[in-house]
């Protein structure tokens, strides 16, 4: 079957009432959590992740991706209305979005953000549709040495996930890797780092880890910060024709920048949004309008944000490389269902992949339909006091951690990681590299051991096979590109927020 045939059957599956409902509920929940002040996409997907584990693989991943998209959009809402970026990716949106809100044009800013996101997201998915299968055609050629090369490539992502300090990022990646070692070693069957404590035999489960690090720690931070709520009035969310005409080129450029850079494994939205914003400012006839409520300043980074997020699905599904923390959680979600992303996913689970791809189109459309009329409700939600929010998140987190294996031990694990996450975030140690290494570390180790078993212990196997050599060379190149991009982004971030924010 060709791509279109696959896609058609994917749509047939994605449009069944059950899956459509999942996409709808996911978008709604994602936006809902993303809108809550201070909760970005990572926290949103971490809080809601366990809820999806009661579903089958297809509805669960559809829901998770919709949550991701929804939370990204919700994050823009708080950036525009409250000047609170949930994550780095929303920082440029604040620059012109908040001034627009102050001028009473908050609704228009939200509308343009929704339209830009829809356009960029859909564009990204279209390219994903045609591009990913090309990569996947190579599937069976990937043996252990090739996967090892791929994992080396994936680990260069640590650089762009590190934020202010590469040393801290590397240290956190090492910590994540150490955590992944706990339990029975795959190649030996021996217990490692369990200290004779039996519940640790099966290792630290992903869901309690994610829930603790990203959701429970958020509650602790929130309690401490005493987050303020601001009343904003929204009048009209539908942009005027003139607004649309003014922002369309910005949306196109933002989409282009966001998408093509987003194809690089490890180029997170946090990087591309700044590039897109700067490009608009350089191209504008009156650059001084920027920072004072220029609509292009909202349109371009929002488009770039969503384009990068969709582009991120290509390295995620076709190679198993997550570009950002939420995608790393999504990768974990796939692996919970035994769906190992990588070239083989398209061969072994074609039906699954195409349903997901189709549901990304559906999710983007639902978001647009959902968000324009519901902006008023989202605004109202930003005023929910943390005293109600905090306990609700905590409750959801505990239920989620427990339900994975029906075990209280996992609840304790989530609480321990909640405290750990809180301390680490207070001290500005980046959590994303830790999560990445925790998820990919065992794959790196297994493929290394398997490759060496195949070659009888000779490491030359990695350079003798063309594909694995190419991947390792690509990893080295990407390392330098990432280093350059990250230097640029952290400089821009310092200029913009006058503070050091974890990427």
């Amino acid at each position: 079957m060709d791509v279109l045939g696959h896609l058609a059957s994917g749509f047939a599956a994605a449009l069944t009432p059950g899956n459509l409902l999942m996409a709808f509920v996911g978008s709604l929940l994602g936006t809902l959590v993303g809108v809550l002040p201070g909760l970005g996409p990572t926290a949103a997907i971490a809080i809601l992740f366990p809820l999806t584990s009661v579903l089958g693989p297809v509805p669960a991943i559809i829901m998770l991706s919709s949550i991701y998209y929804g939370a990204m959009y919700g994050g823009s809402t708080t950036a525009i209305l409250l000047n609170i970026p949930g994550e780095v990716a929303s920082v440029p949106t604040c620059l012109d979005g908040y001034p627009m809100a102050q001028q009473g044009r908050g609704g228009v800013a939200l509308g343009i953000a929704a339209i830009g996101s829809f356009f960029a997201g859909t564009f990204g998915v279209v390219i994903l549709t045609f591009f990913a299968p090309l990569l996947a055609d190579q599937a069976l050629r990937f043996g252990p040495p090739e996967y090892f090369g791929l994992m080396v490539l994936a680990f260069t992502v640590v650089v762009s996930l590190s934020g202010i300090s590469l040393a801290r990022g590397l240290a956190m990646a090492m910590l994540g890797y150490l955590l992944s070692l706990i339990g029975l070693g795959m190649a030996t069957g021996e217990a490692r780092f369990t200290f004779g404590f039996e519940p640790l035999m099966s290792g630290v489960d992903l869901i309690p880890l994610v829930v603790g690090l990203f959701a429970i720690s958020e509650v602790f931070l929130g309690l401490e910060e005493a987050r303020v709520t601001i009343a904003t009035r929204i009048t009209n969310v539908f942009p005027r024709w003139a607004d649309l005409k003014q922002s369309m080129p910005a949306i196109l450029r933002g989409t282009g920048i966001g998408f093509f850079l987003g194809l690089l494994p490890g180029c997170a939205p946090g990087v591309t949004v700044f590039l897109a914003y700067d490009a608009e400012k350089k191209l504008a006839r009156e650059p001084e309008r920027f920072g004072k409520g220029a609509i292009e300043g909202v349109a371009a980074p929002e488009a770039a944000n969503n384009a990068t997020s969709s582009a991120g699905f290509i390295p995620l599904l076709a190679l198993g490389i997550p570009a950002s923390a939420p995608l790393a959680i999504l990768l974990g979600g796939l692996m919970v269902y035994g769906l190992q992303p990588g070239p083989l996913l398209f061969q072994k689970n074609a039906e699954f992949v195409w349903t997901i791809i189709a549901s990304l189109y559906v999710g983007n459309a639902i978001l647009l339909i959902l968000n324009l009329p519901l902006v008023g409700m989202w605004v109202w939600l930003t005023r929910v006091p943390f005293g109600i929010l905090g306990p609700a998140i905590l409750l959801l987190s505990f239920v989620g951690a427990y339900s994975v294996r029906n075990s209280m031990f996992d609840v304790a694990v989530s609480l321990v990681f909640g405290f750990l996450g809180y301390v680490l975030r207070k001290c500005r140690w980046p959590l994303a590299p830790m999560l990445l290494a925790y998820i990919l570390g065992p794959l790196l180790e297994n493929n290394l051991i398997q490759s060496l078993s195949m070659s009888g212990g000779s490491p030359l196997i990695f350079v003798q096979r063309g594909l694995s050599l190419a991947l390792i060379v690509a990893a080295v190149l990407l390392l330098f590109i990432s280093l350059a991009l990250i230097r640029y982004t952290s400089r821009r971030l310092r200029e913009t927020t006058a503070e050091e924010m974890a990427l």
Partner: protein, 330 residues
Amino acid sequence: MMPSRIATSLMILVLALSLVLSAAPARAEYPEKPVEIVVPFVPGGGTDLIARLVADYLGKKWRQPFLVVNKPGGGGVPGARAALKDARPDGYTVLMDIHTTSSMLIGAQKTPPLTLADRKYAARIVRDPMVFAVKADAPWKTFKEFSEWVKAHPDELIWSSVGPAGPSRYTAYDWMTQIGVDPTKTKMVITQGAADSMTKLAGGHVQLAIHSVAEANAMREGGKIKLLAVLSPSRLKALPEVPTAEEQGVMKGVRVQWWAAAAFPAATPDAIVKKWESALAEMAKDPQFLAGAQRINMNIDYLNAAETRAFVEKEVAGYTEMATGIGIRR
């Protein structure tokens, strides 16, 4: 208000009725409440699928909910222990026991965390034999031919095993010692599971993979691999064209296979275990159940309680000997 008063009295009536009913002497008819079937592995695997089929059948037969509870991790030991040792031996918790959590575990350890004395078997339900699989375009036509090649070039054989002490490794050890090949001379690639191993075989990264029929079937139907032999006393109904290892004159006896049985904590009343035994015997002949089992590639092969116990004891002896030979018994 009248309507609400009626509603209240109705409510009281219902409550009173339910009290009367629950206070009535127990009908002594097992099961009176939901039964948990513990699967010590993740949802979607072979053990889980067969447990769900059994739950479905018994749930309809006995008109009580049968809940499949997955307690994965730690090679199945924590889940099996929860069902056999931590649960009340009242017949409302049953373990879907397989070779990994019983015979293979007991054979590989001098002081195993769970022994045969900890369980009472109701019946074996499934027996899924191992098959020797090579890539579809591999040069070998028969298992005999392949074994001759391995005898001549042991150091060229790269084969995939699942885990360091899984059924594939035991089968390979049994086969190699029978044809006189030193297993340590071959290259073993330890994979994460049957799916991982089968893809490596289809991609030509390993030359041999040894799996149960259920695990190998998808790739065989996809035309990516071929089966050289099945390790079973006789050919399988589902795979009539695949000869046994014994009829090709390569191996004698069957010491490794995938199987699943229903096991209760040792102190469970005999009457309940008996009831399960006869129910499972009926189930193994039920056409609807058999059709479901065929869909998940499960070879239903019933043994009663006593036969199951003898079968597992014999396996323990085999695994103890092989684990010692491989050098993984500790």
